[in-house]
């Protein structure tokens, strides 16, 4: 701390532990990082129970506003408020500049990869990415072969997950190219923070994110089929029982578009209509929050009632745009992920700005032996899963769980990858009137229409349980507002 601003932080920090993991707020020696000083001073100046009081008023606001998510697999109280931490996570202009360039590069390459794989497959012919790997992917959709998508944009909305390692460097953990969620929490967190810490917020010079819905709308509009100058854009939701239903309603309202369910849509002569009180109305662009599998029972899973029969044919005929495109989960496959740095070099002839996490492919004999011998040190993930499901965290696992996973790996090695257990960064969170460090990640939201747009910030997800590495909201994670500084 500078001599001019002595701040008594002891009561706030107490025995706040610092170790080899990067702490977002404090230097390894315990000093508060420069950008966090104003925040620390504000916190130190507040009466002891003031933070708790503000937290309670925020919780109540979330409950009455119905800002909730649904947890699967529980019968009672399935609707919960999204746990939320009151202290913002700060990102400096320089850090953000690197993230922004890195993500733009990465998403450009991933989009080129999808286009390539679903047309000429040059990258496979050149043996940069193994053919087997792509064609054995659970999310590869052969129906997409040779299909022209508007503006060649496959992934209009992306929410990549970044981690910060103990070097202070950001790495990409996964790309989330299918239906990334959480953006509504980013927006509501911001609204709440502006109300809770108005002076602090304005003194920091935080870059705005509130225009996200408008950007999303213009991104979708730019992808409308030819000859539809006033496109009818809708958001397709699986319905009220989906965990992200709040977000679907929120985005539809913020964009001023209709929120439709599969049962609202009908197709006739390869044109998609929605049922309105004035009769059938043509639909031009669908922002899809339903997985591929459930989108069209005629083409994908026939037992699904969530989608719209005939949707894929209308899409193929070019009469309706569906974003994200079908089959983008291919590039989300955790084994394909390992090849993203190679894709960037192959398509863009550049070095990756944001590195990958080191990844072992269990389909490779050499990797597999190494992983099986070190199961207690690594994280094992099923390639096609998301949301923190299908995972083994080696250091926290039991011998029994490890045996289980070893058996599954032997049975189907293509289905698993392994990564080192990352000691990713921690940020201070309010726990019972005191600050304690918790692991955090960062999910910025990338929009790809005419060009790539990233709103400065994103959702900082927090593993609220002490020592936990899992930040997913379905498994006890919460969130923080993310302030990107001018």
């Amino acid at each position: 701390m500078t001599a001019g601003h002595p701040v008594e932080l002891e009561p706030l920090f107490g025995d706040y532990p610092l170790d080899q993991a990067y702490d977002e707020m404090r230097e390894p020696a315990g000093e508060v990082r420069e950008q966090y000083r104003a925040l620390a001073e504000t916190l130190a100046a507040l009466p002891a129970d003031e933070l708790r009081r503000r937290k309670q008023s925020v919780d109540l606001a979330f409950l009455t506003q119905g800002i909730t998510f649904t947890v699967y697999g529980r019968e009672e109280g399935t609707e919960r408020i999204f746990p939320y931490d009151l202290l913002p996570r700060l990102i400096t202009a320089r850090e953000w500049e690197c993230i922004e360039r890195g993500l733009t590069q990465r998403i450009t390459a991933l989009n080129l990869f999808l286009r390539d794989v679903y047309s000429d497959a040059k990258i496979l012919n050149d043996k940069v990415v193994p053919r087997d790997l792509v064609y054995s992917c659970k999310h590869y959709r052969r129906q997409m072969r040779g299909l022209q998508v508007p503006r060649n944009v496959y992934i209009a909305v992306v929410g990549s997950d970044l981690l910060r390692l103990n070097t202070g460097e950001f790495v990409v953990l996964e790309d989330n190219l299918r239906v990334p969620s959480g953006v509504s929490y980013m927006l509501t967190n911001r609204r709440v923070m502006k109300r809770t810490f108005p002076q602090l917020f304005s003194s920091y010079g935080v870059r705005p994110i509130e225009h996200y819905p408008q950007l999303l709308l213009s991104t979708l509009r730019s992808l409308a089929p030819e000859g539809r100058p006033e496109p009818n854009i809708v958001l397709l939701t699986p319905g009220v029982f989906n965990s992200a239903y709040f977000e679907h309603t929120y985005l539809a309202r913020q964009m001023g578009i209709d929120l439709v369910e599969g049962r609202d849509l009908v197709t006739h002569d390869n044109i998609v209509y929605m049922r309105t009180t004035d009769g059938l109305k043509r639909v031009d662009v669908i922002y899809r929050r339903v997985d591929d599998d459930f989108s069209d029972p005629l083409v994908f899973r026939s037992d699904s009632a969530l989608g719209c029969p005939g949707l894929f044919n209308a899409y193929r005929a070019g009469n309706v745009t569906v974003s994200n495109a079908f089959g983008t989960g291919l590039a989300d496959d955790k084994a394909v992920y390992a090849y993203v740095p190679k894709m960037i070099r192959y398509y863009l002839n550049e070095d990756p700005i944001l590195p990958n996490v080191e990844t072992f492919l269990l389909s490779e004999e050499k990797d597999r032996q190494h992983v099986l011998a070190n199961l207690d040190k690594l994280v094992i993930k099923a390639v096609g899963e998301s949301g923190g499901y299908g995972m083994l965290i080696g250091p926290k696992s039991t011998a029994r769980q490890r045996e289980d996973f070893a058996r599954q790996i032997e049975a189907n090695p293509r289905n698993y990858i392994a990564q080192p257990t990352l000691d990713f960064s921690r940020a201070p969170c309010l726990v019972e009137d005191r600050l304690e460090p918790r692991h955090v990640d960062l999910r910025p939201y990338v929009l790809f229409g005419d060009k790539i747009n990233i709103v400065p910030g994103g959702l900082t997800r927090v593993a609220l349980e002490k020592g936990s590495l899992v930040v997913n909201s379905s498994q006890g994670g919460g969130s923080k507002d993310t302030w990107v500084l001018e």
Binding site: Y245, V260, R263, V266, T276
Partner: protein, 320 residues
């Protein structure tokens, strides 16, 4: 507007109207039981149950407190206040993007209130107060609806649901009370019957309004005239049907690719019947049948709304 959305708004509104009606009926019925004479507790209870549309009644177990607790809180009983508020909120949740944030918060508060320990405590100390808090919550929601929601098709479907539900409920109430109270008799101005009649008016929050029109001189034919034919009082059937007719016309005017001829004819006929029939004619004829006919026409209008706006066939829509 999406048909599914119109459907949800319409039902959200009907459920809230129903919760309000149930709350008030229960409150008035329990109040009447305080006075000696007249019908006994079970008879009153069953008459109320019939007025709530439970033609077979609700089995009387001897404990008014237990019965009324169930009618407020039993979320599995379709007549209960909680069931209706759950239904309204569930419908609102499915059209979260169509209603204003203020409306949603208001409804959400009512929902959390009725599920809170606080509501139970309130019920134990004063049932009347507890029911009043529910009705207040609904009034606030209606006010919020009128001031924060765009007065487009969605709002009209909310009005339509409200007025049809209310017209139907008032008609049911009159039909149930008709044999006991509305047969004119000599001693009607005094004694227990007076309280019963005032109770009937209170079930529709109409005692004060009635007094303004007719003075406190309560008589059965005037009550019937007031609740059937008054054009200025919001709980009178004629007023409700006029409101429903206006809502249908507004829906038609704002979209209107297809003219719902049968629907317009149906609501127009019912409206004319209520405007041009006199109380003398009603009482001279079969007044029970008259009331029954009004209910049947309300049901028919409901079906036509569905046929035109919600559950139409694709062929009929493409043909336009």
């Amino acid at each position: 507007m999406l048909s599914r959305v119109a459907d949800s708004l319409y039902w959200m509104s009907r459920y809230l109207e129903r919760a309000e009606n149930t709350s008030r009926l229960l409150d008035v019925t329990m109040g009447l039981m305080l006075d000696p004479g007249g019908a006994n507790a079970e008879q009153r209870w069953q008459r109320m149950a019939a007025a709530l549309g439970r033609t077979k009644g609700i089995e009387w177990n001897g404990s008014l407190e237990d019965m009324s607790h169930k009618l407020v809180f039993d979320h599995l009983d379709p007549s209960s206040v909680t069931y209706c508020i759950n239904g309204a909120r569930e419908n609102a949740r499915q059209v979260r993007e169509e209603i204003s944030s203020e409306q949603w918060q208001r409804l959400n508060r009512l929902f959390h209130h009725i599920h809170s320990p606080n509501a139970q405590a309130q019920f134990q100390s004063s049932v009347s107060e507890m029911l009043a808090s529910v009705v207040d919550g609904i009034y606030l929601f209606k006010g919020t609806t009128d001031t924060t929601m765009i007065h487009g098709q969605g709002w009209q479907f909310i009005r339509l649901g409200r007025y049809l539900e209310r017209a139907y409920a008032t008609a049911t109430l009159l039909e149930v009370f008709q044999p006991d109270l509305l047969q004119p008799s000599a001693e009607e101005r005094t004694g227990p019957l007076y309280l019963e009649l005032v109770g009937l008016l209170r079930c529709c929050t109409s005692f004060e309004a009635y007094c303004q029109v007719y003075t406190a001189d309560v008589s059965t034919d005037r009550i019937l005239e007031f609740l059937l034919f008054n054009r200025d009082f919001p709980h009178a059937i004629c007023y409700c049907i006029e409101g429903a007719r206006q809502a249908i016309e507004a829906i038609q005017a704002s979209g209107g690719r297809r003219a719902p001829e049968e629907l317009i004819a149906g609501i127009g006929k019912l409206h004319s019947l209520l405007i041009f029939t006199t109380i003398g004619e009603t009482l001279a004829g079969d007044s029970a049948a008259f009331l029954h006919n009004i209910r049947a026409q309300c049901l028919r209008i409901h079906e036509l709304i569905y046929r035109y706006y919600v559950q139409y066939s694709i062929q009929s829509a493409l043909a336009v």
